[in-house]
Every structure is written in C-alpha cells, then in structure tokens.
Amino acid sequence: MAINWYKYASPASFYTLAGKMVPFFAIIAFGLLIAGLYIGFFVAPTDFQQGEAYRIIFIHVPAAWMSMFLYVVMAFWAGIGLAFNTRLSSMMATAIAPTGALFTFLALWTGSLWGKPMWGTWWVWDARLTSELILLFLYIGFMSLQAAIDDPRRADKAGAIIALVGVINIPIIYFSVQWWNTLHQGASVSVTQAPTMAATMLTGMMVMVFASWMYSIAVILKRVRVIILERESHTTWVAELREKGAL
C-alpha cells in the first residue's frame, strides 16, 4: 500500500490523521513508561559499584539520546521545509523544538543529580556536558528566533537555516567521550559489541528509551495540531470544524 504523501502534506488532512495518531502513541508511551519504571526500580539489580544511584540511567540515557535525536529530526524537517517549501514540514520542526529542549534539560539535570554522589560535584566542564549545554542553547536560539519573527513563513525559513547550521554539534556531542578523554564515561551500549551492563538493566533502559520516543511522537503531533489550527485559523476547513463543534 503506497502512502499518498502529497495528501498528508496538506495541513488540513494531516490535522485529522494526527488526531487519530495521538491517542495511539500516548497509550503506548504510557504502557512502556509503567513497564520501564517497574523494571528499573524493582527488577533490575543494584549495581555493585554505583549502588542504587545508577538507576538514574533509566531517565538520563533516554533523555540524552532523545535530545540529540530530536534535534536531527527537527533539522531534517526544517531542511525539507526550506527545500520543498512545504508548510507542514516547517510546522513539524517548530513543534519538535520545545520537546527537544525539555529532554536536553532533563539530561543535564539528571546527569548533575547523578554526578553529585558519583563524581562528588554537580557539574564539571567536561566535553560531553559542555556540548550538551550548547545543544540546549541551540534549541533556545531556534525557539527565540522563531518567536521574534512575526511572519510565520519567514520564521520557518530563518529557523531552518539556524537549525541546519547547528547540526554540526550533534556528532561532536556523540563522539565527545571518544575524542576527548574526560570524566563522563564512554558508551555502555553499542551496536557492534556486547553491552557492558546486566541484561535487565539494558532491557529497562531500552523500554524507557521507547517510552520517551513514543511520548515525543504523541506530544509533537498534539503540538503540531495546535500550530496547524493557529496558522490556518482563517481557512474554511477550520471554520467548518468550528461549526461542527469539533473544536
């Protein structure tokens, strides 16, 4: 079955499609969250080096991964919007930014909560921490640039340029622990090698990663629906929705 991309590139038809998808992803996210937290707090064993404090990884690692992943997705949609002049892609990019910034903040916050008992300090100027902080600045720069421009189409394009320029930071964050030998530990999970952690810990973490992923999709789709309504408020299809009492 071929998906008719052109049909769903129209904000009006995507609005109804997104409306159907939001509850679906929200329920999956909720289920995975409960399962992930249960594995994380009750099933996974205590780490012999780090004690109970390591359990922060069930939030920290998914948040850190999502913060980078969402930036790439945001830059991708922004770039598509810039190249093909599709309004919906740019709206997606605008909708992703707050969720990405939230996960970046969570990754920094939980990291510093973990750093206090483990490293004895809330914050170090280590390569990965610094580059993650820069990522937060990039998200904030993107959002404030879009907020400062009144014309939404100009805001879309300007945001796209700054998002694409900022993509350079993503590989720097990802490889920072390999390039610079710093305090933040290297990756414990790798595609090519056996993971260096217990299987239940890994399961719990991966379940939480999928929970965050599904949560992001649900929230972003919800937000893009609001953005569509806001920008299309002058159109007839929104007026029809309003008459039908669907809003």
């Binding site: 600045f137 720069g141 404030s144 421009i149 394009k157 300007a158 340029i161 700054i162 930071n169």
Partner: protein, 219 residues
C-alpha cells in the same frame, strides 16, 4: 565585484572612524575590567589571560555584527546586491572579509599589548596573536549568518548573541586552548590546525548559509 565590495566597505569604515574605534575600545575595556574585579595577583592573571582576551574578542566581534548588513539594509543597497547578477555568497564573503579587516584585525594587533598587561611570556603572546589571527575571521563569517537572520527584527542585538555565541564556542575553546597549551609547555599545533580547519570550513559554508539567510530576511 568581490574586491569592489571589500574596498567600498573599507572606505565606509574609514569615513566613519568612530565605529571601528568603539569596537576596539570595548575590547580593551572588557579586558581591563578583569584585573580590577579579581585582583591584580599576577599568577592568577597569567592563567586567566588567554580566556579573558578570547572572550573579550568574541564579545567585541559580536557587538559589531549589527553593522555588517544593517546600514546597507536601511539605505536599500542590500536589495540591489540581491538583485545583482553576481553570486550572493561571494558578495557576503567580501562583506565578511571587510568586517574582519575593520573589527577583527585591530583586535589582533591590540592583543599582544593587552597580553603584556597580564604578564604573558613572549612566546605565549605570539601564540595568542596567531590564534586570534586564525580565529577572528571565523567569528566574522559565522556572525554573518546570525546578522543575516536577525536583519530588521525587534531586539536583534540580543537575539544575534543568542544565535551566534553557541556557535562561537568551539573557536573559543581551541583558541584559548592553544595559548594555555603553550604556557603549560605542551604542543599547541593541534589547536591551531583545528582553528585553521574551522576557518577553511567556514569560508566554504558560512557565506552560502549567510546568503540564504539574507534571501529569507529580504523576501
């Protein structure tokens, strides 16, 4: 056309000398504030010097970004440049070069004098000047993107700092890092090579991104 743009911008800068001097004096004042605020202890000043000079150079270069396109935008010259058959990225490169000659080079020339105030050894002064020489053009080039994006916006001065400063951070790290490495007695070539790489990459990509941002802003 490229040289014409550079020549024209330099001529404008010579006619409005106060603009150039304001940036330079801002740089000098910021650097001089630190010994006054943290105390004149020479050992501490020596370790702080590379970072202080680099941060001040970043701020000074950022402050002068407003002038990069703003006056051309106001009097309509920029619109003519966009309409001209010449390649826009090339024109932007010319404007960035002129901006560096006007606001970057004076900082580079001034840096050794300020370094002496911080009691830097002679070879550290040399590395500081060299790193600024390689790093400040990158600041002008990246700054052109931010200046293009915020053209004609409300509060564009604050906004441009929010957009541009995170992108300046790598230049700051390796620029100040080169001087620190030299003072610690380790090889600093790697830092300077990376700065040179940043310069080459930004010469290729930044004018192009800045031209795109000008087209977005002028629509």
């Amino acid at each position: 056309m490229f040289f014409w743009i550079v020549q024209r911008d330099l001529l404008l800068a010579v006619r409005r000398r106060s603009d150039v001097l304001t940036t330079l004096f801002f740089f000098i004042i910021v650097v001089s504030l630190f010994p006054l605020s943290v105390g004149p202890e020479m050992n501490m000043l020596r370790t702080m010097a590379p970072g202080v000079v680099w941060v001040a150079a970043l701020l000074a270069s950022m402050l002068s970004l407003g002038r990069l396109f703003a006056s051309d935008y106001l009097d309509g010259t920029l619109e003519q440049m966009l309409l001209s058959p010449h390649s826009l990225p090339f024109l932007v490169l010319g404007k960035a070069l002129a901006h560096w000659l006007v606001s970057g080079v004076p900082l580079v020339m001034m840096a050794p004098v300020l370094g002496i105030q911080y009691d830097l050894p002679l070879d550290a002064l040399f590395v500081l000047t060299l790193s600024l020489m390689l790093g400040t053009p990158v600041l002008s080039l990246i700054g052109a993107i931010g200046a293009g994006l915020t053209l004609g916006l409300r509060g564009s001065g604050v906004l441009v700092s929010l957009l541009v400063l995170p992108l300046y951070i790598p230049v700051l790290i390796f620029g100040a890092g080169a001087v620190e490495a030299n003072m610690a007695g380790v090889e600093f070539d790697a830092h300077l090579s990376l700065l040179g790489a940043f310069l080459l990459v930004s010469i290729v990509f930044a004018p192009w991104a800045a031209a795109a941002s000008l087209r977005v802003s002028m629509e």
